[in-house]
């Protein structure tokens, strides 16, 4: 009998965060995300956006950047910079909350379908495929028009319509996990389904789920912006999308008021890019084939 010398021990798996940090894209994404989160949390406290703090007269409308208004004013003479900061909150809030809804549904449906298979799988996947195929944006627009323009409703609509991809991904991962021999082993020990899901499925699905979730956040932020741009945003909350809606409607583009339509667009671009980069970095960690760009 050999004395088991433990051979070739790879370095203890570093935390996800550390792995992300090691990836160039992941690092940029992490930095951007952190920066935006801090800006969204602290920014509006320092630079309070007062929707009533309109300009004094017509000359203060759509004013280019000055020392007091570092990003100029909007068509009501309100400060674009503070509006931009407070808009970040709504965009992030919708992105994150909608993702929570989407992830819970997606992961639940995916695991249930993949683990139990059979009829349940058939039914769940039929529903999933239905929502996967149905064009989401028209449906979001229709639902937004029907159920009204309220932040909670917008969150729910986006959440309810962005889970199918997650469900698909989780299901296929669950299906392949099911084929891994440690599942029949656990079953042969007498583990209950719930225990197998809890102990053997969820921890394995998690990394992929996190990567996907991060990408869903990006998608949800874009969806909110689009809905707001279409004119279905919450009228009582300023988001980057609704800023662009008003900029577009008030003719800021034609008047060359770049300080009005550039910041919210760039804001969306950066935060979506940040989440996308982190998501892709996660993907790369999960699937090393794709690496190489860093």
């Amino acid at each position: 009998m050999s004395s088991p010398q433990v051979l070739h021990i790879p370095p203890v798996k570093r935390s996800m965060l550390a792995q992300l940090w090691n990836d160039r894209m992941g690092r940029v994404g992490l930095l951007l995300t952190t920066f935006t989160l801090i800006a969204a949390v602290i920014g509006p406290i320092i630079f309070v956006f007062d929707s009533g703090a309109v300009g004094a007269d017509a000359t203060t409308l759509l004013m280019p950047p000055t020392r007091t208004h570092i990003l100029g004013t909007d068509e009501l003479g309100r400060d674009v910079f503070s509006q931009f900061l407070s808009g970040s909150r709504v965009s992030l809030l919708v992105g994150l909350m909608a993702t929570v809804i989407s992830t819970i549904i997606g992961a639940g449906v995916g695991i249930a379908a993949g683990f139990f298979t059979g009829k349940l799988d058939t039914v769940l996947m039929a529903v999933t495929d239905f929502f996967l195929v149905v064009p989401a944006m028209p449906l979001m627009i229709a639902m937004g028009a029907i159920f009204g323009q309220n932040l909670t409703i917008i969150i729910v609509i986006i959440g309810l319509l962005s889970w199918p991809r997650t469900a698909r991904i989780v299901r296929s991962q669950t299906l392949s996990l099911r084929e891994r021999k440690f599942v029949p082993r656990a079953r042969s020990l007498g583990s209950t389904n719930w225990r197998i899901i809890k102990v053997h499925m969820i921890p394995h699905v998690l990394p992929l789920l996190i990567a996907n979730t991060i990408l869903v956040v990006a998608g949800a932020i874009l969806s909110e912006a689009t809905l707001a741009f279409i004119g279905l945003g919450d009228p009582n909350r300023i988001s980057w999308g609704s800023m662009l809606h008003f900029a577009f409607a008030s003719g800021a583009v034609g008047r060359g008021a770049w300080w009005y339509f550039m910041p919210p667009g760039l804001g969306i671009l950066l935060i979506v890019l940040a989440f996308t980069l982190v998501g892709h970095a996660f993907d790369k960690i999960n699937n090393p084939h794709l690496g190489g760009s860093s």
């Binding site: 007269d57 017509a58 409308l61 008030s250 034609g254």
Partner: protein, 558 residues
């Protein structure tokens, strides 16, 4: 032709109820597959210089003059059809199909023009006039029926004369607004048919014949070389639809269009001083107002506190009309008080200093304090004696940005005097059905506006009549004294006396504060100076006005 106005486009009130025209229409040119057959194949891809090109933001609803509701449709029809009388550039009556109109007591006698033919070649006759007026009056058809409520008969004693008899003298001649339609085409239809007829190829006697109307894209009329009047220089007129104000302004700059009849304030500021573009900032016959639910009806679900005039007056005092003008309208409007804009001349009302309810928070606070509304529990919102907070709902149409902004400013102003307003923005249909819900209006305040389509105070003054509840009266204002004064001015033929009554009516309505009127609109138009000259800047607008004369008198080039 009495219309509601919103910032970007003007719409008739009923159109508004039917939800037609706020929209640009999205439907397009004939389908993709037929796209290879161009509409016209002469010329070389450029536009002829004698084409008068107008841009607009709403499509025509229908070309049937008896069912039409949009300003855009009326504009097109005004070039295809003639009236018996027309407004000239000075907004005074001029001969049309009638060479003269003589009012005498309860009758108006029209002498018809000789040698007029319909676009299809059929001769025009008195029968056509009698048919048209009779049809409207008998069936209460369309927006002009309101001017014929007093009509008792219309007859043609001979081929060149038409006599209209009313139950009482008419201060306003309805012939100024009624387009005359050909009997030989319309008489084959029953009134029911007429209400659904789309009149896709209208035949009139007017200076232009119908060319084409492509839904969602454009409408074109072509010069009628056989017209009885001085032939216009424009060989055709086209109206092109733009769904976005900004894109429309760009189209003006690039020469795609020659004139924009309705420019929103923010865009207007951007156009001022642009090379080759003239901007016209003209008086209008429109105002926007904040309506307050003053319905006494038990079914009303409005906040009963608003029935207290002191609260309404306090709200009026709280609002800074100049700020609304400056901010919501970018300075391109006039601070308002009474129902009639300055364009109505001597009828225009200015409150005496003591009566002014504007930008005076102190007065607002004093009014509320003395009425016993105080802020008790530290949230800064005043309460009535029995503890009801002064908290009201306010509605605005989401797409009418000036109203939304006005409402936002109003919310801020009211808060400063301890009144809480909660703003909801809704689409125009919801707004209409909510405000006009006679079953029990469930709203407190709203913002929208009125546009007078005639150069006479009668219409705007008539809006808050108790008899108009269920009609135009959008705030359910019912005041016997006001109603009586209205009747008096309508029968008053002496101008000075009529002015006095009208002033008094406005003063009363101003102080009753069922309407808080922040602004009289300005008609903001812009046109290319190189394309057309001889355009006269008239109160109410170069075009999209009571008068069509600018279309007829414009000459190409500088």
């Amino acid at each position: 032709m009495v219309s509601m106005t919103t910032s970007g486009s003007s719409i008739n009130r009923r159109s508004f109820l039917r939800g037609a025209a706020i929209l640009g229409v999205a439907s397009g040119v004939p389908g993709l597959l037929s796209a290879c057959a161009p509409p016209t194949t002469n010329g070389n891809g450029t536009t002829p210089s004698t084409l008068f090109k107008v841009g607009w933001k709403s499509d025509i609803d229908t070309l049937n003059p008896f069912t039409t509701v949009t300003t855009e449709a009326i504009e097109v029809q005004s070039l295809i059809y003639d009236n018996l009388m027309h407004y000239g550039l000075d907004l005074k009556a001029e001969p049309g199909l009638a060479t003269q109109a003589v009012a005498s007591g309860n009758t108006i006698t029209y002498t018809l023009r000789d040698g007029v033919t319909w676009h299809d070649g059929t001769p025009f006759s008195a029968d056509d006039v009698v048919y048209t007026i009779d049809l409207i009056a008998k069936n209460q058809l369309g927006i002009n029926a309101q001017y014929l409520v007093d009509l008792t008969s219309v007859e043609a004693p001979d081929a060149k004369t038409v006599v209209a008899t009313f139950s009482r003298p008419q201060a306003f001649d309805p012939a100024l607004v009624i387009p005359i339609v050909p009997k030989h085409i319309w008489s084959t239809k029953t009134p029911d048919d007429i209400s659904t007829f789309d009149n896709a190829a209208p035949v009139g006697t007017g200076p232009f014949t119908f060319g084409s109307w492509t839904k969602g894209q454009n409408a074109v009329v072509n010069r009628n070389d056989k017209w009885w009047g001085t032939k216009p220089a424009a060989s055709s007129v086209s109206w092109t639809l733009y769904t976005n104000d900004d894109l429309q302004a760009q189209a003006l700059k690039s020469g795609e269009i020659d004139i924009i009849p309705q420019v929103p304030p923010t865009i207007f500021t951007g156009l001022v001083g642009t090379d080759g573009i003239a901007t016209a900032n003209l008086d209008s016959f429109s105002f926007h107002h904040i309506g307050i639910n003053v319905s006494n009806d038990g079914k009303s679900k409005g906040n009963p506190l608003l029935l207290d005039k002191s609260i309404r007056q306090a709200l009026s005092c709280a609002l800074d009309r100049n700020q609304v003008v400056q901010i919501a309208y970018a300075g391109l409007a006039v601070p308002a008080a009474g129902l009639l804009p300055p364009s109505f001349g001597d009828y225009y009302y200015t409150p005496a200093n003591a009566d002014v309810l504007d930008n005076n928070p102190d007065k607002a606070n004093a009014l509320l304090d003395s009425a016993g509304y105080t802020a008790k529990d530290g949230d800064g919102i005043r309460q009535s004696k029995d503890g009801k907070p002064l908290s009201f709902r306010i509605l605005a149409i989401s797409t009418t940005t000036v109203d939304v902004r006005t409402a936002q400013l109003f919310v801020e102003s009211a808060a400063k005097v301890g009144i809480k307003l909660e703003l909801s923005t809704v689409d125009s249909d919801t707004m209409g059905s909510t405000v006009y819900n006679t079953d029990g209006p469930d709203w407190d305040l709203f913002v929208w506006g009125w546009d007078s389509g005639v150069n006479d105070p009668d219409y705007l003054l008539g809006v808050p009549l108790s008899s108009q509840i269920g009609g135009n009266n959008d705030v359910f204002y019912a005041d016997k004294e006001y109603d009586a004064m209205y009747d008096a001015q309508a029968g008053e033929l002496d101008h000075a006396k009529r002015v006095a009554i009208v002033q008094e009516m406005q003063a009363k309505f101003y102080s009753d504060c069922a309407y808080i009127i922040p602004v009289y609109l300005k008609k903001l138009q812009a046109y290319r100076t190189a394309s057309w000259s001889n355009l006269q800047e008239t109160p109410g607008g170069i075009i999209f006005n009571f008068t069509r004369d600018n279309y007829l008198k414009a000459t190409p080039g500088k």
